[in-house]
Symmetry: C2
Subunit: 382 residues, 2 copies
């Protein structure tokens, strides 16, 4: 690593610690003077008032070398916007969203990353799958199956590694031999959620990534989950909400998704399930498209779409190909015994001449038979 690259990374590590994300004023300062100069100025306290307000409490409290060492100790690294595998394209949506007045629409200053894969490579074709922590068995089954299906179609599953839907989506992606990216809301050294430590290990060993904009040691907190959600929304080509109660954080990720102009999808569920109320609300508002399969997700996710999903087909019936009049004659026929052509005409309401023409056609199709007592239906042997 060159001295410059090393200074850049140290500066970004410091900036990543010094302001609580999102930090629009600090982000603007970095754009203007570059990260090294910005870090120096923040450290000296020589910054405009809005930057001072968001940095004064931490500017002397931490050393970036300690943070980088703490990350290295857990096999993590710092990914910075100057790196080639920074997902620039995905984060560029924040610019448009910020122009629309979305205050939180700020890309991260840097990302702490566990795993060797290229983040930009993984999210080239990616969908975010999110939902309630207190998911139902239905929701977990659907999230797992979506994860498997997306993985099998070569699409990376992005989620928040929470209990419930998030965990099921990540697990599904791993089951489907795909890659998955977990975006967490605390330092990578914080064991949260405790029940997902083995999931985090599997994500990393199976070619995925666990990422965070929070430096080592930062604890999970409600506002951090909400701020983190913008990154989940930004890294997927679209977001699927699988299950969401009326207060679920998933509806916040949905709002970020809309603000970023990405396709929003929701999985319908039983209308009398509290965990599907949030999805029903998204569907009723017209903001989300209903999806039930990975193919439908890909169809709805524009940019990553390859081809349209198949329309489901029901089982074929013997009478499927019949034109309406033939169907009426077939319907008029008794199962057993027999009926004259005249009786069939009266029953079906069709002219006798038409009935006389259709009965032999049905016989040829194996759907009618003439017996001693007249015409009756035949069960086709197929």
């Amino acid at each position: 690593m060159s001295v410059d690259a090393s200074r850049l990374r140290l500066a970004r590590a410091y900036l990543s610690r010094v302001a609580e994300p999102p930090a629009p004023a600090l982000h603007r300062l970095i754009s203007e003077v570059g990260p090294v100069e910005a870090a120096d100025r923040v450290h000296r306290g020589d910054v405009p008032e809005p930057v001072a307000r968001t940095t004064e409490s931490r500017r002397n409290a931490f050393r970036p070398r300690d943070d980088l060492a703490a990350a290295a100790a857990i096999q993590a690294r710092l990914l910075i916007p100057e790196d080639p595998d920074w997902p620039s394209w995905q984060f560029s949506s924040f610019i448009a969203a910020a122009a629309q007045g979305s205050e939180d629409a700020v890309p991260p200053l840097a990302l702490w990353v566990r795993g060797d894969a290229s983040l930009a490579g993984l999210v080239e074709r990616a969908v975010s799958v999110v939902g309630s922590r207190s998911a139902t068995p239905y929701g977990e089954v659907v999230a797992t199956e979506l994860g498997i299906g997306l993985a099998e179609l070569g699409v990376t599953v992005v989620s928040g590694a929470a209990m419930g839907i998030d965990g099921a989506a990540h697990s599904g992606a791993i089951i489907g031999n795909g890659r998955t990216v977990a975006v967490v809301a605390c330092g990578l050294d914080i064991p949260y959620p405790l029940d997902h430590l083995s999931l985090f290990r599997r994500i990393v060993t199976r070619g995925g990534l666990v990422i965070s904009e929070y430096p080592p040691g930062v604890k999970p907190a409600k506002h951090r989950f909400l701020i983190r959600n913008r990154l989940i929304a930004a890294l997927g080509g679209g977001t699927v909400v699988v299950e969401a109660g009326i207060r679920s954080g998933a509806t916040n990720t949905a709002a970020h998704t809309r603000a970023l102009g990405r396709p929003l999808m929701a999985v319908p569920g039983p209308v009398n399930s509290a965990m599907s109320v949030g999805c029903l609300a998204l569907l009723r508002s017209g903001h989300a498209v209903p999806v039930g399969t990975a193919a439908q997700v890909i169809e709805a996710s524009g940019r990553i779409g390859i081809d349209l999903s198949d329309t489901p087909e029901g089982p074929r019936k013997d009478t499927d190909g019949l034109e309406p009049h033939a169907l009426r004659v077939h319907e008029a026929l008794p199962e057993r015994a027999g009926m004259s052509a005249e009786e069939v005409a009266i029953e079906s309401g069709l002219p006798l001449s038409r009935v006389r023409g259709l009965l032999p056609a049905l016989e040829l199709a194996g759907l009618a038979q003439r017996g001693d007592e007249g015409w009756h239906r035949q069960r086709a042997n197929r």
Copy 2:
């Protein structure tokens, strides 16, 4: 009954029998020459070719007086367009649909009716609730609850009296002390479906109606269910599909509803339930609005709407009213032990001065407490 009224009813009874509905050519002839003259001409065989084709097989096979007597024997009557309780407004939609090229868009020539209520009165505020015969327990629960809810809001429930969703919707309306209209696809004397005979009795004794455009003796047949569906679609101010497999007749009623320009609604269900596949397809096509409650049905059914349904609200939390910075300070506080204001500033990333202002505010709100070891969170006593 005057002689003229009696002749009119006899003519309509004859016409109702002589052609299998829908009979657009016969309908046009009646519009031109009136029902009495039209009946005479059909009987004589003195009609244009398209009318002859649809009437020749039955024109000498039946006597309308027998049909009226058979109806009277089961406490049924013949309702004709010339009667004041004919639902003219509802059926007028067929004219517009026919102009759009919908071949089946023909009103009935007459309706056989069991029950004393006025059909026009009952359907003044009505919604059609339909769905699969092989419904799941989930679908039956939702259909019953919609029936109850609509009844309680004074809305008549129209359906097809089939097993499954239809029966549950009718039953719900009765449970909710409302009125319900069953539109069947066979003669009113035909005991079909056999398991619903007591339901039919309850519908009639509780102020509802069982109606059919088919004269006594006509058997149920697949094409008749499909043709009947246009009347279900026409008599409701909108149609709700509760559950539908991919081949369900309910999707046919949905198509009629759209052709008539009426609002179409679908109840979402589990995406892995075969009985919700049809509803998901309707929702994905954008043709149907998702609904889960009677209030949402009424909101979506334009014409019959009174007011908007309530947006569901989640439970209130102690921290609900807090502005974002106060929430961040609250989140930074430990549950037990204590933290200095400086530590809270670092943890929350907010300026110390701001933290010093917010901590007492949180204390006043009963959400923070200052102890010997510093600040910690307080569980609000409410």
